[in-house]
C-alpha cells in the first residue's frame, strides 16, 4: 500500500476520487429518492457526445462535455410534463444517439482514438495536476448548494406539489439538481468513465439504504461506502493494471451486496 501511495499520479487520483466520491454519494441520495437513475445513465452517455464535439471543434473536451451535458439536462428539466413524448422515452432515444455520435466522431479523429477507452471506462493516469483544485472547488460548491437547500430538495423529492404549496422553489431546484448531476458526471468521467459513472450515482445510496434506519445514517453510509470503493478501486486499478472505473464500480458493488446481506440479517 505504501508503494501505491508513493506515486504522485496515485495521490492525485485519490484526492480527486475522494472528492468526487463524496459529491456523487450525496447526489445519489436524491437520484434514488427521485428515481432518477435513468437520467444519470442518459446524461453520462450524452457526455460522450459533448467530448466528441470538443474534439471536433478544438475546444477542451471536458469543457465541451460539461456545457453540452448541462444543456441536455436542462432540456430534460424543461420537457417534464410538456412534451408528447414521455421523459423516459425521450432519454432512451436521445442519449444513446448522442453517445453513438460521440463514438463515431472520436473514432474518426486519429489523435483521440486511444483516449476513447479512457473516456468510456476511466483511467487512473488521466487526472492532471491542474485539475485537482478546480475539481475541489466544484465539489465544495456542489456540496454547499445541496447542504443549503437540503430540506427543500428532500421535501420536493418526496412531494413536489406540497413543497410548492409551502413556497419551496420546486422548479429552480429541479434544474439545480440536474445541473449538479451533469457537472459531476463530466467531472467524474476521467476517473470512472462514461459507461460506469451512472452506477456511481446510484450504488452509494443503495448501500446506505440497505443498512440505515435514518436519513442521516443513510447519507453517512453512502459517503463512507463511496469513498471506500474509490480507494479500493484505485488500488486494484494500480495493482492489476485494469481500468479504474471498472475497478471502482466493482468495489462499490461488492460493498452494496455486503450491505444487503448484513441488512437482511438485521431484519430477520
Amino acid at each position: 500500500m505504501s508503494e501505491f501511495l508513493a506515486y504522485t499520479f496515485v495521490q492525485r487520483a485519490l484526492a480527486v476520487g475522494i472528492l468526487l466520491a463524496v459529491t456523487c454519494a450525496v447526489l445519489s441520495f436524491f437520484v434514488v429518492l427521485k428515481r432518477m437513475s435513468f437520467v444519470g445513465v442518459g446524461l453520462s452517455h450524452a457526455a460522450l457526445g459533448g467530448v466528441a464535439l470538443g474534439v471536433v471543434l478544438g475546444v477542451p473536451p471536458l469543457l465541451a462535455a460539461a456545457l453540452f451535458t448541462i444543456g441536455v439536462a436542462w432540456v430534460i428539466g424543461w420537457m417534464r410534463g410538456r412534451s408528447e413524448v414521455s421523459e423516459d422515452t425521450a432519454i432512451g432515444v436521445f442519449f444513446p444517439t448522442a453517445m453513438a455520435l460521440g463514438v463515431v466522431l472520436i473514432s474518426l479523429s486519429p489523435t483521440y482514438r486511444q483516449d476513447l477507452m479512457a473516456y468510456l471506462f476511466g483511467n487512473i493516469l488521466s487526472v492532471r495536476q491542474g485539475e485537482v483544485l478546480p475539481l475541489a472547488a466544484l465539489s465544495a460548491m456542489s456540496l454547499g448548494l445541496i447542504g443549503w437547500w437540503f430540506k427543500e430538495l428532500l421535501f420536493a423529492g418526496v412531494d413536489e406539489e406540497a413543497a410548492q404549496a409551502a413556497g419551496v422553489p420546486v422548479r429552480p431546484l429541479r434544474f439545480l439538481l440536474l445541473t449538479l448531476l451533469a457537472v459531476t458526471i463530466v467531472a467524474s468521467v476521467r476517473l470512472v468513465g462514461i459507461v460506469l459513472v451512472s452506477a456511481f450515482l446510484v450504488i452509494p445510496a443503495a448501500t446506505g439504504q440497505a443498512l440505515a434506519r435514518s436519513l442521516k445514517g443513510m447519507l453517512v453510509l453512502a459517503v463512507a461506502s463511496s469513498v471506500a470503493s474509490v480507494v479500493l478501486g484505485l488500488w486494484l486499478s494500480w495493482a492489476w493494471d485494469i481500468p479504474s472505473g471498472a475497478a471502482i464500480v466493482l468495489s462499490s458493488a461488492v460493498l452494496f451486496f455486503a450491505a444487503l446481506a448484513l441488512g437482511s440479517r438485521q431484519n430477520t
Binding site: V32, L33, R35, W148, W149, K151, E152, L154, F155, V158, D159, E161, A162, A163, Q164, A165, A166, G167, V168, Q209, A210, A212, R213, S214, L215, G217, M218
Partner: protein
C-alpha cells in the same frame, strides 16, 4: 362579513384555464372562518384547480381569489395542504417524524435546519392525529390511513388556519375513511381550523361538512348538504340516473 373578520376563502366570478383549455368558469363561493366545506363533482370538474388557485400555484384568467382577505400567498399564516398520497421509494428510511417536519420547511427557509421547537411542533402535531408513538417508524411501513394522518400532521406543523385537502381518502377503505373524517372534524373544532376538502366521498362528507359546493367547471349547487345532495342536482353533475344518485348521495349514513 365585516372587514375585521373576512371570510377564510372568497372566490368571486373566477375563471381559470390550462393552456387555453377552460377548467373553471365564473365560479363564486365563500367559506366562512371555522367552517368545513367540501368540493364535490366528477373528475375534471375543477376541484383541484380551485385548490391550486388558493395555494397561489395557478392564477385565474379573470375574477378575484382571496384567502383571509389577502391574495393567495400573501396571508402571513401558511396554508396547510394535504395531498392524495405520498409515495416514497421502497426501503428509503424516511421516518414519520421526517415527514411531519417537512411541514416546517417553508417557515424555516433555506439553510436552516429544524431545531428543538420545530421538533416539538412536529411531535405535537403527530399527537393530535394519534401517531406520537409512531414517530420513529418508517413512513412507508404505515397503513394508508395512518399515512394520511401523518400528512395531516405535516400540514398542521406549519401552524395553519386553513387546511386544503385534495381527495385525501382516495384508496382508503370505508372504515379508515370514516375515521379520517372524524379526525378532520375534531381538528376543525379543536384547533379552530377552516377546511376545504375536494372529495368523492359524498356520504361521509354529507354527514360532516357544513357546506358543499357541487362543481362541474361551473358551480351547479352550493349550500348545506341537505340542499346539495338531492338526486336531481347530483344526476346533473355525475350524469347518472336519479334513482342511483339517491342511493349513493343523499342516502348517506343513518
Amino acid at each position: 362579513m365585516t372587514r375585521a373578520d373576512p371570510a377564510a376563502i372568497v372566490l368571486d366570478r373566477v375563471s381559470a384555464s390550462y393552456d387555453g383549455r377552460p377548467a373553471l368558469e365564473d365560479v363564486s363561493f365563500q367559506v366562512p372562518q371555522g367552517d368545513f366545506a367540501a368540493l364535490i363533482g366528477p373528475n375534471g370538474a375543477g376541484k383541484s384547480t380551485i385548490l391550486r388557485l388558493l395555494l397561489g400555484l395557478l392564477h385565474p384568467t379573470s375574477g378575484r381569489v382571496e384567502v383571509f382577505g389577502h391574495p393567495p400567498g400573501r396571508d402571513e399564516r401558511p396554508i396547510g395542504y394535504v395531498p392524495q398520497k405520498v409515495v416514497i421509494p421502497r426501503g428509503f428510511p424516511i421516518t414519520v417524524l421526517d415527514v411531519a417536519l417537512m411541514g416546517r420547511t417553508g417557515i424555516l427557509g433555506p439553510g436552516r435546519r429544524p431545531g428543538a421547537r420545530d421538533r416539538e411542533l412536529a411531535m405535537a402535531s403527530l399527537a393530535l392525529v394519534g401517531l406520537a408513538d409512531d414517530a420513529a417508524r418508517r413512513f412507508q411501513d404505515l397503513s394508508g390511513g395512518q399515512q394520511q394522518r401523518v400528512l395531516i400532521a405535516r400540514a398542521l406543523c406549519s401552524e395553519p388556519r386553513l387546511l386544503l385537502l385534495d381527495e385525501p381518502t382516495a384508496g382508503l377503505d370505508s372504515g379508515a375513511r370514516a375515521r379520517f373524517y372524524s379526525l378532520v372534524c375534531q381538528l376543525q373544532h379543536g384547533q379552530g381550523l377552516t377546511l376545504l376538502c375536494a372529495t368523492h366521498d359524498l356520504d361521509v362528507v354529507g354527514e360532516h361538512a357544513d357546506a358543499l359546493i357541487l362543481l362541474d367547471r361551473v358551480v351547479l349547487a352550493q349550500g348545506n348538504p341537505d340542499e346539495v345532495l338531492t338526486g336531481s342536482t347530483l344526476a346533473r353533475a355525475y350524469s347518472f340516473p336519479k334513482a342511483h344518485a339517491h342511493l349513493h348521495g343523499a342516502g348517506g349514513a343513518p
